[in-house]
């Protein structure tokens, strides 16, 4: 069996784990401005990378990571190479500014067609910025290949893809032909540890860059995400801290307070 060709779509996003005060809203431009936090690979896409590397470790595979955007931070995305990707493709052009999900899937599907042979396409379940969770499945529709949503485990047996697909009360074991697109759930595990040395070792590795002209794109079909309004989420409550001389006493006082307030 020749090595599997795996494509992993990764998105660059402001670190969603960053503290809330590291994000400001430009309500005029309807944009979120991250302050003092670097961009990261979307954590959900890191799950997809880990799933790809797990397959590579087990069966052997060539893993190609690809990312699309108006501007991309190479040092951030090189992390994919350091973690085990064989190739990194950046799809960059000013036309790709804040594209909506449909346009994003359109550009990525065109890039995947250009690259050609693939057995498996992996994406995260959603992106940590807009949290839509539709791009991966749209890519599959555009490429007219089967898709599986929310994989918690992926195996390859006899040229078939076997996936544990997350359901509300457990999972389904499904099998699909090659090629198939799979969106990956966090249950596959976090991206493996990457040492500084590994990061340094890929700092000069060549990266392939595609521009809009390199892809068979109809630029008129690209649309930016239309945001009408953007505001802070109001979920704050007034927290009453329960005091006490010891942790035990705090626990007891909590019980008393909950009873007093008729919560219980």
């Amino acid at each position: 069996m020749k090595p599997l060709q795996i494509m992993v779509c990764i998105k660059q996003v402001p670190d969603p784990e960053g503290p809330a005060d590291a994000f400001k809203i430009d309500s005029e431009a309807k944009k979120v401005i991250p302050i003092g936090i670097p961009p990261v690979i979307n954590p959900f896409d890191e799950n997809a990378l880990e799933a790809a590397f797990h397959i590579k470790d087990t069966y052997g595979a060539k893993v190609t990571a690809m990312s699309m955007g108006e501007k991309l931070a190479q040092p951030v995305l090189r992390k994919a190479l350091a973690a085990g990707a064989d190739e990194l493709i950046l799809i960059v052009d000013h036309y790709f500014k804040e594209l909506d999900s449909y346009s994003t899937a359109y550009v990525l599907s065109k890039a995947i067609r250009k690259i050609g042979a693939y057995d498996l396409i992996l994406t995260g379940r959603q992106a940590g910025d807009w949290d839509f969770g539709v791009t991966g499945l749209l890519i599959a529709e555009m490429l007219q290949i089967p898709s599986i949503n929310l994989a918690k485990k992926i195996e390859i047996r006899d040229d078939e893809i076997w996936v544990e697909k997350l359901t509300r009360d457990g999972y389904e074991l499904v099998k699909a032909p090659i090629p198939t697109l799979i969106t990956v759930s966090s249950e596959v595990g976090e991206l493996r540890y990457i040492s500084i040395r590994a990061l340094q070792s890929v700092s000069a590795k060549p990266i392939t860059v595609y521009r809009a002209d390199d892809l068979d794109l109809d630029i008129k079909r690209l649309r930016a995400r239309q945001i009408l309004n953007l505001s802070a989420f109001q979920g704050q409550r007034e927290c009453r801290f329960i005091e006490g001389d010891s942790h035990q006493q705090k626990g007891e006082n909590l019980a008393l307070k909950l009873r007093e307030d008729r919560v219980i």
Partner: protein, 335 residues
């Protein structure tokens, strides 16, 4: 008003079921649909997909103007290809202005596929909907950036397709009258299936969203031993609440300490219990977005700076291993 009943303005709600049971999100969707039809006029419709589930259609007929029953052997169990195609066929026939679905795992699978086939955009995980006054376009608000912000998007091309977050709308109340049930038989072929389900594995079937009290564990609870310490709290709360469940934040689920059906948050369940006790949960926005509907939130965490305290009604800064046993003991005394 641009839209009237006679404009054939149908709001289509997808009934959500699990096995033989219609699940609560259905009634929240119907309420959202009713608000839209109240605003612009129109017919509130619901679609139920299945095989021989006549009693469900009758139940739903107390809530909607029209009930479409898509009955087919291939719809007996959820399958993304068949469900998408069946819904598409109904939409071609009904021409609805809006399609509402719950933001459930199944619909996260079919919503983008349906959007693609119909040729429209989909906005997922919405918590607010309103029709723009002059145009009737649908304005949809949803939490973004892991629920740090709310963004409003505008859908201009019909049908407006959205998935709605559970617990964001109150359930609809039934009417005395019943509407008619209209059978609709889609054309489906077995050969369409490319992804074959070989086995269903049920790990644990719980409905966190039906619990009226939830004791939830996070990274600070660390391990199985830590989880065991919470059992007593769940038990004693059972004397005050009708259904108490263990919940968890994502780290414990990813560590396989707790099954994913108990995960609360952005990629887990959205819950709205009377009482939510967060133990050892730091309170990332991804977790907090799942508990905003809770009536009272208690947070126990050793880190005074944990963001969970910003959304809590009661807080204890302390080690849960010492706090929880004392809390249990006092609760027992108060019985």
């Amino acid at each position: 008003m641009e839209f009237r009943k006679q404009d054939n303005g149908r709001i289509l709600v997808l009934v959500e079921r699990e096995g033989q049971e219609i699940v609560p999100i259905t009634f929240e969707l119907l309420q959202a649909g009713k608000q839209l039809t109240d605003q612009i006029g129109g017919i509130l419709c619901s679609a139920i997909l299945g095989n021989g589930m006549d009693h469900h259609s009758k139940e739903i007929s107390h809530y909607a103007d029209e009930v479409y029953f898509l009955d087919h052997p291939l719809l007996a169990n959820f399958n993304p290809e068949f469900y998408t195609s069946a819904l598409n066929q109904l939409c071609q026939s009904l021409n609805p202005i809006t399609i509402l679905m719950g933001h459930t795992l199944n619909n996260q699978n079919i919503a983008p596929k349906l959007a693609y086939i119909i040729g429209v955009e989909v906005i997922t995980d919405c918590i607010q909907l309103t029709n723009e006054a002059e145009t009737g376009h649908l304005l949809c608000s949803k939490p973004v950036y892991g629920a740090k912000f709310i963004a409003t998007f505008k859908l201009e091309k019909k049908p407006y397709l959205v998935t709605l977050r559970p617990k964001a709308w109150e359930p609809i109340t039934p009417r005395a009258t019943k509407s008619k049930v209209i059978p609709f038989t889609p054309v489906l072929e077995e050969a369409w299936v490319k992804v074959e389900c070989t086995k269903k594995i049920r790990e644990e079937s719980i409905s966190l969203n039906k619990a009226d009290a939830i004791v939830s564990a996070g990274r600070g609870v660390k391990d199985a031993e830590g989880l065991n310490r919470l059992r007593g709290l769940i038990n004693i709360l059972g004397t005050n609440f009708s259904r108490v469940e263990l919940g968890a934040s994502r780290p414990l689920v990813d560590a396989h300490l707790v099954p994913s059906s108990r995960q609360v948050g952005l990629t887990g369940e959205k819950v709205a219990p009377e009482l939510y006790i967060a133990i050892g949960i730091s309170g990332s926005s991804q977790h907090v977005t799942g508990i905003l509907g809770a009536k009272k939130i208690v947070a126990i965490n050793s880190n005074p700076k944990a963001p969970i305290f910003q959304v809590a009604d009661y807080g204890i800064i302390g080690n849960f291993e010492e706090v929880v046993p004392a809390l249990i003991k006092k609760l027992e005394e108060l019985q």
